[in-house]
């Protein structure tokens, strides 16, 4: 995605007099998509709030306050306090930092690895494809949740933390992106313009980056958005099962795990509704953005 956007910026400058490039059209279309724009703004706000948490609130996210255990929302604690007497709003912000880091980090690594391997495999075919796809199959064979838990059992007490989790998730889950990219490139490769490009001696890397990737970009983007959403859910699931982010680091998943206690689930909803809503809204907005991007970049789309 990163690469794609840069090209978008540079492409139109070279050809000012011609009709606007597909990327410019896409950008215009995207800006006109209200739902996607609202989502983008929402997501940006959440990201900014989360990453600037220490500047926004001065409340302690660690200190247990016996006098304030499980208090409902009030003017002092906007979203109430959790079972340890900590401000839920403050923890939400810090938790957003962990959860979004997991989401963004995983998405970046997965797309990077997945696209590279999928594109190379799909374009070159033959032996390269064979080897890379066997490798992809190999990676795809690891059931993600199960392996993260197994690795956790091994690594526990040695290394733990956010980045370990991100790397473990990324390394285990790029396979599906690679496969989808490959299958798209395989189909796209059949088109005459690629044959034409090949026949005039274009470099393979150029064909892939310039011609093939932009044409499968919509697929990659849909995958990427799905992935960011999925990894945030995976993080919360793992944390819910106590195999995710360490319990003392707030994350939306860790906050949600308090809902395992049915007393909290039924009677202290201010503790778990905020992280549940946050996850839901963030994932919704990510998906809307993805959808908006996809629509925008599809030259044949109506909107």
């Amino acid at each position: 995605m990163e690469i794609v956007t840069k090209q978008e910026a540079s492409a139109p400058k070279k050809t000012p007099n011609k009709s606007p490039s597909p990327w410019v059209i896409a950008r215009r279309k995207f800006f006109k998509n209200k739902l996607a724009m609202i989502s983008l703004i929402f997501l940006l706000i959440v990201i900014i709030l989360s990453f600037l948490a220490p500047y926004i609130t001065t409340k302690d996210i660690v200190r247990v306050d016996f006098t304030k255990i499980s208090q409902p929302p009030s003017s002092e604690n906007w979203l109430g306090t959790d079972t340890n007497g900590r401000d839920v709003f403050t923890r939400m912000l810090y938790a957003g930092r962990s959860s979004l880091t997991v989401g963004i980090g995983c998405m970046f690594f997965i797309v990077l690895i997945g696209t590279t391997i999928g594109a190379i495999s799909g374009y070159f075919g033959g032996k390269v494809d064979q080897i890379l796809m066997r490798f992809t199959d190999f990676v795809l064979m690891f059931p993600l949740l199960v392996f993260v838990i197994v690795l956790n059992t091994i690594l526990v007490g040695k290394v733990s933390g956010l980045w370990t989790l991100i790397i473990v998730i990324s390394v285990l889950s790029w396979g599906s992106v690679a496969r989808v990219v490959r299958s798209r490139i395989l189909a796209e490769k059949e088109n005459e313009y690629i044959l034409a490009a090949e026949s005039i001696g274009c470099k393979s890397s150029k064909i892939i980056i310039k011609h093939l990737l932009p044409n499968v970009a919509s697929t990659i983007i849909v995958q990427a958005t799905l992935l960011m959403a999925v990894t945030i859910v995976i993080e919360s699931a793992l944390s819910f099962l106590n195999f995710g982010v360490p319990a003392d680091t707030p994350s939306w998943g860790n906050m949600l795990s308090e809902a395992r206690n049915s007393d909290v689930l039924r009677d202290k909803i201010w503790i778990w509704i905020p992280p549940a809503t946050a996850i839901t809204l963030v994932i919704l907005s990510i998906n809307f953005i993805g959808e908006g991007l996809k629509d925008a970049m599809n030259p044949k789309s109506r909107r």
């Binding site: 016996f66 340890n84 319990a247 049915s262 007393d263």
Partner: protein
């Protein structure tokens, strides 16, 4: 070395620590028991014959039906329905005859057991003393692979058999099928308490080598017991169906059967509400929801378990099986006292245990007759100033002005505190302890940087991991009041590795021949507790209350020191 109760402790601790539910309780139903009123009228309503009740557990049983081989608390729950022991523990935590009565010889070394006649195994065979002897011999067999050898260790000749030097335990004499004489190695007040109490069905186990017993079908699939209920059907990971044993020796059980069913503890309240379960040992967190239900009563009692913070004094030499005190961080008594003064225990109990625990200043729960009176002990009430003052007198002052004290030599001082992972409350609890100590100026950090997975945590404690300088722990005492297995100088479960001459002297005294005099024994334990309370080799925190949720239709449940499964044959249903 004596391990009797500690093995149970270890077993129970596993559950305890995870679920914060103690396993034993006292008959003295607490004053707070508002449900009492509901109960009395209920008892006069129609008693229904038969019926099946569902017993909830939070984990799946492992499916070992002979107590000699099982390790899981859930298996123990099932065994409480299907097995009976030689002795019983009454409400006062005293040992009383059950399957056999006994006489003690003049020299206090030999016990003669007279077995009840006419007691039937589930397969119709009659119980004889030989079944019990068979169990004792099995436990001492070199090939025995269960964890209970220590229950026969004290019998004369058991160790020789274990080492393969003898075919039989020399201290056991079968006088006639109903009379068994057991001679112990040495005179000890708790010889009886430490002998294995469950007979094995000798005929049923016939022809199985001892080494294969623990995996045999007879132990795992078609067990034969003595208790009020017998195993009918087991669906692994889901439920075990027990049915009434008509020939139960104490009388025909009132219920038709019991289902032991696995329930996610977080769903306990809902399961009670729609009648899916009738009785379960519950977590403090469920109390509020359950008390809102009209069809369920909650019974709470003082348990035999307590939580503490262990402090490291050394390590255990695994070759000599001795504890060696070679770590001097906590050698200052004032420092240890200051650490306890710094903790607001009542607030922690309210915050993390829903108030379902009582502050303890000793490590013998009040349920025991040996427990010291609260008056004789320093209460260590939360007092930050006092804590700071104590630190100052001991020479722990802040010299470099960073807000944290340095040790008397002026070196930076820091405690690494360990806690295991579990339900959400654990994270707050560990943080509360850390911040309390930081507040009095003692710099404290969470060992390894995060809560440690429970199995690993236990391994770290076993191996004296350097990261655990101070560590959270819980013990359940079983029914023997002797704390030597946990706190004696060379005890394996003395995880802090506290070694002290006075400590050992007092504990040994309480097990000596003189201690056959009950008053003397109590005095010795009180002296030990006072010493413990003053020295604080570990910081006692609180005693956990045992909590049980019971559907009102189920009556006849007697909650006492052994748990909530005494006389299960009297359980009955009222409409």
């Amino acid at each position: 070395m004596k391990k009797t109760k500690t093995l149970w402790s270890l077993l129970l601790m596993l559950v305890m620590a995870l679920f914060l539910a103690a396993c034993n309780s006292d008959s003295g139903t607490t004053d707070k028991d508002a449900q009492k009123d509901k109960e009395t009228p209920a008892a006069t309503t129609d008693v229904k014959e038969g019926g099946v009740v569902t017993f909830g557990t939070d984990q799946a049983p492992e499916g070992v039906y002979d107590p000699a081989f099982s390790k899981s608390i859930v298996d123990a729950y099932i065994q409480n329905f299907t097995m009976d022991g030689v002795y019983d523990v009454n409400d006062e935590l005293e040992y009383v005859p059950n399957l056999a009565k006994w006489d003690i010889s003049e020299d206090k070394l030999t016990y003669t057991f007279n077995f009840e006649k006419g007691v039937k195994w589930h397969n119709g065979e009659e119980l004889t003393g030989e079944d019990w002897v068979f169990a004792l011999e099995t436990l001492a067999h070199p090939d025995y692979d269960g964890p209970r050898f220590n229950y026969v260790e004290g019998v004369k000749g058991a160790q020789e058999k274990k080492a393969g030097k003898a075919d039989k335990i020399s201290g056991i004499e079968v006088v006639d099928p109903y009379t068994i004489k057991i001679t112990f190695k040495e005179v000890k007040i708790n010889n009886l308490e430490s002998i294995w109490q469950y007979p094995m069905p000798k005929k049923h186990y016939e022809g199985i080598a001892v080494k294969d017993l623990s995996e045999s079908k007879q132990v795992r699939e078609n067990p034969v017991g003595l208790g009020a209920f017998k195993v009918k059907k087991v669906v692994d990971g889901e439920y075990s169906e027990l049915e009434r044993f008509d020939d139960y020796w104490k009388g025909k059980p009132a219920l038709d059967g019991v289902i032991v069913k696995v329930i996610d503890p977080s769903l306990a309240a809902g399961a009670f509400q729609n009648g899916e379960i009738d009785i379960m040992d519950i977590r403090p967190q469920s109390v509020k929801e359950l008390s809102a239900l009209s069809n369920v009563r909650i019974e709470e009692t003082n348990g035999v378990s307590y939580s503490y913070i262990g402090l490291r004094f050394g390590h255990r030499d695994k070759a000599t099986l001795k504890n060696v005190a070679d770590f001097d961080k906590f050698n200052s008594k004032e420092l240890r006292q200051a650490l306890l003064y710094a903790l607001n225990r009542p607030a922690m109990i309210d915050a993390f245990l829903e108030g379902k625990a009582e502050v303890a200043n000793t490590v013998i729960p009040v349920t025991f007759w040996t427990a010291a009176d609260a008056k004789d002990l320093n209460a260590y009430e939360f007092n930050v100033d006092k804590a700071k003052e104590l630190l100052k007198t001991a020479g722990y002052v802040d010299k470099d002005g960073d807000g944290f004290v340095e040790d008397p030599k002026g070196q930076p001082f820091k405690i690494s505190f360990g806690h295991y992972a579990g339900p959400a409350a654990f994270e707050g609890r560990s943080q509360a302890i850390i911040q309390s100590w930081n507040d009095i100026g003692v710099k404290t950090e969470l060992a390894t940087g995060s809560l440690v997975e429970f199995n690993l945590y236990n391994e770290m404690k076993d191996n004296d991991d350097a990261a655990l300088e101070a560590f959270f722990g819980s013990w359940s005492m079983g029914s023997d009041p002797d704390p030597s297995g946990l706190w004696a100088n060379d005890a394996e479960w003395n995880y802090g590795r506290y070694v002290d001459a006075e400590n050992d002297k007092l504990l040994k005294e309480a097990l000596s021949e003189k201690a056959f005099d009950k008053d003397y024994r109590k005095k010795m334990y009180v002296n030990w507790q006072k010493y413990f309370n003053e020295q604080l080799p570990a910081l006692p925190l609180w005693e956990n209350l045992s909590l049980y949720g019971i559907n009102n239709r189920l009556q006849g449940v007697h909650i006492n020191a052994v748990g909530f499964q005494t006389d299960v044959y009297k359980w009955h249903i009222v409409e």
